[in-house]
């Protein structure tokens, strides 16, 4: 059906074309005549061979052409006397068109072009880009849009532009998911406005939406949140400008997918001039950031023995006691378990990165081109992670005539990415018993090359993580990092064809875009036996999987722009846009386990057993259409009024709620142009007040949810296959609607030296989607997706730019941006589980409780008061500090969880604040501990330019007022198991009277690591994100060596971080999708300190 529709659409366009061409041919007179001539240089009168002679019609459309011969002569056939001849040649100015008239011979002289390169096209006003192509100059803009020129980012070592954007734009919070190569970033524009719909912003590349999400059902292998960061595969050097659309006036034009903001990326295009070849190189090294120090083997063994002693258990009787006895007579165990291994060192290395990009661009009046090829290779800090990427791009502009222009862009990228098999490897390395050897010793004490992967150790065994985020058990982390495979391959092809036709010159323009998008991904995983040491009878030994995700998207956008000429004082721009999207994807996967050898790594090889869900295949299609009308009216160069309305249809909704209508209005007032400002405050260059209000909609993530579908079981019953009703039909699901109002101020003062911007916004999401809302399971289903709530994101943003110095020698620019966003739930479904973890009596559990009108991400727990130094301190005290006495007059000791648990606190146990002074620590003593939403985010930087040759830039980003639960600390100071601990536990409580903050070690029991304020830390940070020193070689010298420009630079990234956070890295991605989500930092690979050396040259 869809192809048929498209065929019709294309036919219409093609038909129009054919008729057009047919007509223009019919117009010409039948007589043809030949015109000859000679092309010579104006100065030396010598003939110019090889010059292009072009015959143009009255619309400057090329009719025919020829090339001059060695004598500079040419001959062309002319069909119409009104046609004109023009000649162009590299290094010469293109001749002015000459009307042929009755002439038979036309001689043309060309003038050499001396400084074509320096010719700059000066436009009256730069356009702002909301991506739709509506030609609106910056002074007429009414929306909250911030832009950044990619030149400012080009020196950073970043494989993806989102990394480089961190902290640059106010209101855009980008956080790291993991520092591993290929891992994605989380981008949030003005907070999270949707919990279960898509919450990533829409990305628009050269005017067309760009798909960056991977559907949830591609979870076949081990893919998880970070696995597909590679989707935004645009080489940073190809990017010209990035704009962020924030308020409703800007996003409403993008409709249903724009409710989380829009990132508009414009790639570079060719410019008129001779071919310019530029080459950029970036190479960097990133040493490993300092890990949390952990115990060595000897300290660890002491700790384990102490744990058992304190728990009153006999250690020598446990089956694993041998691993701690250091008994030289038991040689094999002795050699393999009496080491001081540093597991974290073992799995990490110095990362490096190099990136080459070659760009050729140029063109003439008719055609301009830019083509680039880039290659990037990165080795991650963690062993087994790397990334190779090839990107190519061809951007072509062709002016058929004054009225018809087209662009054709093709970009392709290939990604080859090795990721860690498990995201927990680093976590395991922290906890791995350090007395175990990394490599195996034989019984004579000779070290072999085999990684030591026993079936099990005192710590237990490897557990296959059936769900991402599930426990992995324990294993030799180096074995898993180096032997297990998680190999991802991606091929991404994106083509765009754009036709611009002026129906009425300068008044009505038709722009038509067709975009094809092909994205093929493959994930191959293999878990060999020797990575985990598990016996062959288990299903996770030699487990191979291969998953394919193939996506095909077709987007069209047809715009009609109307720009009537109403005189100087009235400027009107109207636009009508029809957009369609049709995307389909197929997922196929195969898994097998117990292949006969660790070298048989493909799931097509038969294994011993079939595993559950060993094959998967999904075909999904979704479509959407949008019709947009927008108008922008600019009055007296001072007042702008803009309005738009968009109708959206989406196949993800049932027929009843399929269409949504999203209007927006906005206005701007250039106060600075008013005479009372102009006359009185002449330091004001620009002062503009903007206001906007609008709505946009969000569609759910899943397709076909309005059908009740019957699926088959993966097995038969008595030889027959059964079906079951697999889901609840969502007949009631509506658009999630985002209503945003925004007031903004733009100011430029003192000869544009000081630039100020500010925005205040209120953003309300109604009919919030909630996936997996619990329903009573007696309905046969456990969860349902509903529109069930209202959420507010209110905040402000400010930016300041200041040119402190600008003269011939020096230019000093300073900039600063800051943003605040507050996320509050106003209303929520009763079905929503507002409490979590009522069994707070479990160690390491925090309580979350959600209240309407409170922000998400708050968590509660006990208040930690350190450690009971002695018996006397465990006596329960009442409110006035007197000991509580039992009925028979004896001291009562502090208890935990009376009467269900009824544990009496011992000296050395963690002390919690008995808030209600009843002598019992229980749920009544829970207090508010923190919230994982940052209060302020932003960045600031400076750029210093000396004689345009030496340039220094530095950029800081920061986050302030965020509480994070330091999960690694929780796990590395609990002292209840065989897990290795951080060196902080060396100051643990050991003897009566010890005053310390680390409780005693007790194996298996105790309540020393309850969710308490001990683990809650302020993760505010200020980071020197990047500093660059760039030197550009002098023109004269560069010319001598045959180049046009040459510059070299050194960039350091993440060099300094100021924080009080004791964990590995304070830049933890905050992912709050639920009332009970809190940010717990389990130390994923942190972003590393990087030193980059770069070269960029043109010739």
């Amino acid at each position: 059906m869809m192809t048929k529709r498209l065929m019709i659409k294309f036919l219409c366009v093609a038909l129009g074309f054919a008729v057009f061409i047919g007509r223009s041919q019919a117009q010409t007179q039948p007589t043809t005549l030949t015109v000859t001539g000679k092309v010579t240089d104006r100065n030396d009168k010598l003939p110019i061979p090889g010059a292009s002679v072009t015959v143009l019609d009255k619309d400057n459309r090329t009719v025919s052409g020829a090339i001059t011969d060695i004598e500079g002569n040419f001959a062309v056939r002319i069909k119409d006397k009104s046609h004109r001849i023009t000649v162009s040649f590299i290094g010469y100015k293109t001749s002015k068109p000459v009307v042929i008239g009755e002439r038979k011979t036309v001689n043309i002289t060309l003038e050499a072009e001396i400084n074509a390169l320096n010719e700059v096209v000066v436009r009256g006003q730069a356009d702002v880009d909301n991506g739709t192509g509506l030609p609106i100059s910056r002074i007429r803009n009414t929306a909250a849009i911030s832009s950044i020129n990619a030149r400012e980012l080009q020196e950073m070592q970043s494989s993806s532009i989102d990394q480089a954007l961190q902290g640059r734009l106010p209101g855009v919070d980008i956080s790291t998911v993991s520092g591993d190569p290929g891992a994605g970033m989380q981008i949030r524009i003005r907070g999270t406005a949707s919990l279960n719909g898509a919450s990533d912003p829409l990305i628009v590349v050269d005017g067309m939406p760009y798909e960056i999400t991977i559907p949830d059902d591609f979870n076949f292998a081990t893919s998880d949140d970070n696995a597909y960061g590679q989707l935004l595969n645009i080489a940073p050097s190809d990017i010209n400008e990035i704009s962020v659309l924030k308020d409703a006036a800007a996003t409403a034009v993008w409709g249903s997918r724009a409710s989380n903001g829009v990132l508009v990326i414009t790639t570079k295009r060719g410019a008129v001039g001779p071919p310019t070849i530029s080459y950029n190189f970036k190479g960097s090294v990133s040493p490993q950031t300092d890990p949390i120090p952990t115990l060595n083997g000897n300290q660890y063994t002491t700790l384990v023995l102490e744990e058992f002693y304190n728990a009153g258990r006999l250690f020598s009787t446990t089956e694993n006691a041998k691993q701690f006895q250091y008994d030289p007579n038991d040689t094999y165990i002795y050699h393999n378990f009496s080491n001081n291994s540093n597991w974290n060192d073992a799995i990490t290395r110095t990362g490096y990165y190099h990136d080459h990009s070659l760009q050729i661009s140029g063109g003439g009046e008719k055609a301009r081109y830019l083509t680039s090829i880039g290659y990037l290779s990165q080795k991650g800090n963690q062993i087994g992670t790397d990334l190779d990427r090839i990107t190519t791009r061809v951007n072509l502009d062709y002016n058929v005539s004054e009225r018809i222009k087209f662009q054709s862009d093709v970009s392709y990228s290939h990604v080859d990415n090795n990721q860690a098999y498990s995201t927990k490897i680093r976590d395991v390395a922290y906890q791995k018993m350090p007395n175990q050897s990394i490599y195996e010793y034989d019984e004579y004490g000779n070290l072999s090359d085999n990684l030591f992967t026993p079936v099990s150790t005192a710590q237990g065994t490897y557990i296959f993580p059936y769900r991402s985020g599930a426990s992995d058990g324990t294993y030799n982390p180096l074995a898993l990092a180096s032997r297990a495979m998680n190999h991802q391959l991606g091929d991404n092809l994106n083509t765009r064809f754009n036709l611009r036709y002026q129906l009425v010159p300068n008044i009505v323009t038709l722009v038509s875009n067709v975009n094809f998008y092909v994205n093929n991904n493959k994930t191959k995983t293999f878990l060999p036996q020797n990575a985990t040491g598990r016996p062959f009878t288990e299903l996770n030994v030699n487990r191979a999987s291969d998953g394919d995700y193939d996506q095909f998207g077709l987007t069209t956008k047809t715009d009609l722009f109307y720009t009537p000429n109403l005189g100087e004082d009235h400027q009107l721009t109207g636009g009508l846009s029809f957009q369609s999207y049709d995307g389909r994807y197929t997922i196929q996967g195969l898994a097998v386990s117990n292949t006969a050898s660790s070298y048989l790594q493909d799931p097509s090889i038969p294994g011993r057993t079939n595993i559950d869900k060993s094959a998967q295949s999904t075909v999904t299609q979704s479509r959407s259409i949008g019709l947009l009308a927008q108008v922008n009216y600019f009055l007296l160069h001072r007042y702008t009024f803009a309005a738009s309305i968009r109708a959206d249809g989406n196949s993800k909704f049932g027929p009843a709620n399929r269409y949504g209508y999203f209007p927006a209005v906005s206005a701007a007032w250039r106060i600075g142009e008013e005479s009372f400002i102009k006359n009185n405050f002449d330091f004001v260059d620009e002062l503009k007040l903007r206001a906007s209000y609008g709505k946009s909609g969000n569609a759910p993530r899943n397709d076909y949810s309005y059908f009740n579908t019957y699926n088959t079981y993966g097995y038969s019953y008595l030889g027959e296959n059964g079906v079951y009703s697999s889901n609840l039909e969502l007949s009631d699901l509506k658009w999630e609607t985002n209503t945003q109002s925004n007031v903004g101020l733009d100011m430029e003062l003192f000869d544009h030296k000081l630039r100020l911007g500010g925005e205040i916004y209120k953003r309300r999401t109604t009919d919030l989607f909630f996936d997996d809302l619990r329903v009573a399971s007696y309905n046969g289903f456990n969860t349902i997706t509903l529109n069930a709530g209202t959420m507010d994101n209110d905040g402000w943003e400010a930016s300041i730019g200041y040119t402190a110095l600008r003269n011939k020698t020096w230019t000093v620019d300073l900039n600063f941006n800051i943003a605040h966003n507050q996320n509050v739930i106003r209303e929520i479904s009763r079905l929503y589980q507002i409490e979590s973890a009522k069994n707070i009596t479990k160690n390491k559990t925090f309580y979350s409780f959600f209240q309407e009108d409170n922000p998400f991400g708050s968590f509660y727990g006990f208040r930690s008061l350190g450690v009971y130094p002695d018996k006397a301190s465990t006596v329960a005290k009442d409110r006035s500090g007197n000991p509580i006495l039992s009925p028979d007059g004896e001291d009562v000791y502090m208890r935990f969880g009376y009467p269900t648990v009824d544990y009496v606190f011992q000296p050395g146990d963690a002390m919690y604040d008995d808030i209600n002074h009843d002598g019992v620590i229980d749920y009544r003593d829970i207090v508010y501990l923190g919230n994982s939403n940052p209060k302020l985010t932003g960045g600031f930087g400076a750029s210093i330019n000396y004689k345009s040759r030496l340039k220094f830039t530095a950029f800081f980003n920061f986050r302030q007022g965020i509480d994070i639960i330091n999960g690694t600390r929780m796990n590395t100071t609990d002292m209840v198991s065989y897990n290795n601990q951080s060196t902080a536990v060396l100051r643990r409580w050991r003897n009566d009277g010890d005053i310390t903050d680390i409780p005693r070690a007790v194996y298996g029991t105790g309540y020393n690591s309850l969710g308490s304020s001990r683990y809650v830390e302020d993760a505010s940070f200020l980071r020197l994100r990047t500093a660059t020193l760039r030197y550009e070689l002098g023109q004269n010298f560069v010319k001598k060596i045959g180049l046009k420009t040459f510059s070299a630079y050194v960039t350091v990234e993440n060099l300094l971080t100021f924080t009080r956070y004791t964990g590995q890295d304070p830049d933890v991605s905050v992912r709050i999708n639920n009332a009970d989500d809190k940010t717990i930092d389990y130390s994923r690979t942190p972003p590393s300190k990087t030193i980059t050396l770069g070269i960029s040259t043109r010739f």
Binding site: I8, F578, N708, T709, L718, A776, Q833, T900
Partner: protein
């Protein structure tokens, strides 16, 4: 101008085509499943849905639940170190309202599948002229019976449960219904089964495997007898057992072949209804009972109290049923191969025989008591039961003794078949908890020493004999009321 007109009309045409047809254009059908609109059209659809009901029983989570509810609180199994805290807390009578063992969703999932078939089989019948009354009755009757079986498990584990008799398939079907009392649920079960017993044929196929893997009229009567026994309607129970025992094709497998034939191969002459895993999906019991990381093993009481060895006569002599576990206490009843396709026995003829014995004994009278003893003797002789387990009751009037004898014999006969706790509870609650002391003995056997006293206190409250409703369910349905024992 001409060009402009053509372009304008082309554009308008384009917009018109796109908008007028977008209604259709946006209507996308899923390609990897059948939608409800396309389903429930033919008898084959109904048959596939019926097979789906059975498939939902053998997927693992249902059997896992049945086993946990039927054995975990009993004395026949014990937990390994791989069992989670939730399991341990059940053993220690310290069940929190968040304990995952009381998650009933997999059972209600089966019930919903049954409800949908009962609701929509009629639609198919109206459309498909080849869908005969006989087939229709068979399919709906089987669904009714399985629904009753599920409710019977629920009512024995939770007592009062929500009684959902209408299928849910769309968001607007989600309603709060609260819970019904055990009496209401049992009344519904009895009425459904009485309906089903006339709908389901004696034989659904010529194949033994199919007849035993699906509900037949005998299975309906077996379940009915079980429900009547639970409801202390002994006369009705007796009649129901008669309707099964009248068929001579059901007979005990004699001699040494018993273990292999009944459990190893399945579908033996003993079986009335089993959940068939043959050449389909592997059994969940492998991971629960036989795998290296198994959760359950046979308890220490199995070799000492359930199957004590015969010291006096011949040490070599063993009860044919004591092969169910080995020296390392691994329960072998469901095989030790991986993967494992052993069937799960729901009703066997020995079960119906012992139910009849129990009914007879409860009706009372010497004659009935003697009949009950005869049934016991018959089974014991066939199984080679040892003298050590024979209480040597000869008096048919000894209702109490025979009752206990039946209980013990059931432990031997149905060891590890998910029946022990239900048998104990039925025994204890009979005649207004006349025998509650048996549960107190049980608690002192299975709970940890440290919590024994509190566990003993708890068991006196008869509400504690039933699981709590999982806390998350209470959020989802405000009309649901927690079992009062679990309210603080």
């Amino acid at each position: 101008m001409m060009i402009k007109k053509i372009y304008q009309s082309a554009f308008i045409l384009l917009v018109l085509i796109s908008t007028s047809s977008c209604k259709k254009w946006l209507d996308l059908q899923p390609q990897d499943g059948i939608t409800k609109q396309e389903f429930w059209k033919t008898k084959e659809d109904v048959k596939a849905a019926l097979t789906g009901i059975y498939s939902s029983l053998v997927g693992g989570s249902v059997e896992e639940r049945i086993f946990a509810w039927g054995e975990l609180r009993g004395d026949m199994v014990t937990l390994t170190t791989y069992a989670s805290e939730d399991f341990r807390q059940v053993r220690n009578s310290n069940i929190l309202t968040t304990n995952s063992i009381s998650n009933w969703s997999s059972i209600y999932n089966v019930i919903n599948n049954c409800n949908l078939l009962i609701d929509f089989a009629g639609d198919a019948k109206a459309l498909d002229p080849t869908f005969t009354d006989r087939l229709y009755n068979d399919y709906v009757g089987e669904a009714l019976t399985i629904r009753s079986l599920m409710y019977f498990y629920l009512v024995r584990s939770f007592r009062d449960v929500p009684l959902k008799l209408k299928g849910s398939y769309k968001d607007t079907d989600i309603q709060e219904i609260g819970k019904s009392t055990a009496a209401e649920v049992i009344a519904q079960i009895i009425s459904d089964l009485n309906k089903a017993k006339t709908m389901v044929p004696h034989k659904v196929s010529d194949s033994d495997q199919v007849n035993k893997g699906r509900i037949t009229r005998y299975a309906v009567f077996s379940l009915l007898a079980d429900v009547y026994l639970w409801n202390e309607q002994y006369q009705e129970a007796l009649t129901a057992t008669d309707s099964v025992l009248i068929n001579p094709d059901f007979k005990l497998v004699k001699g040494n072949g018993f273990f292999l034939s009944v459990f190893g191969q399945g579908s033996s002459s003993e079986t009335i209804f089993e959940l068939s895993h043959q050449s389909s999906v592997s059994n969940v019991f492998y991971s629960l009972l036989a795998d290296g990381r198994r959760i359950y093993t046979a308890s220490e009481y199995v070799p000492t109290e359930i199957f004590p060895s015969n010291t006096q006569v011949d040490v070599e002599l063993v009860d044919g049923r004591s092969n169910f576990y080995d020296l390392s206490s691994t329960i072998r009843k469901y095989g030790t191969d991986n993967p494992n396709f052993t069937n799960f026995q729901v009703y066997r003829i020995s079960d119906v025989m012992l139910m009849q014995a129990e009914a007879l004994n409860q009706i009372g009278g010497k004659q009935n008591g003697d009949k009950a003893l005869a049934i016991l003797k018959n089974i014991r002789d066939e199984r080679g039961a040892l003298d050590a387990t024979d209480p040597e009751i000869t008096d048919g009037d000894d209702t109490e003794g025979i009752g206990l004898f039946i209980l013990d014999e059931r432990a031997r006969e149905f060891a590890f078949e998910g029946k022990r706790w239900f048998d104990l509870l039925r025994y204890a609650k009979r005649d207004n908890y006349a025998n509650i002391s048996i549960l107190q003995d049980l608690i002192s056997k299975i709970s940890d020493v440290t919590v024994q006293q509190s566990a003993l206190n708890k068991i006196r409250d008869t509400n504690s004999h039933y699981f709590p409703i999982l806390e998350s369910e209470l959020y989802a349905d405000t009309k649901l009321v927690q079992n009062p024992f679990y309210l603080k």
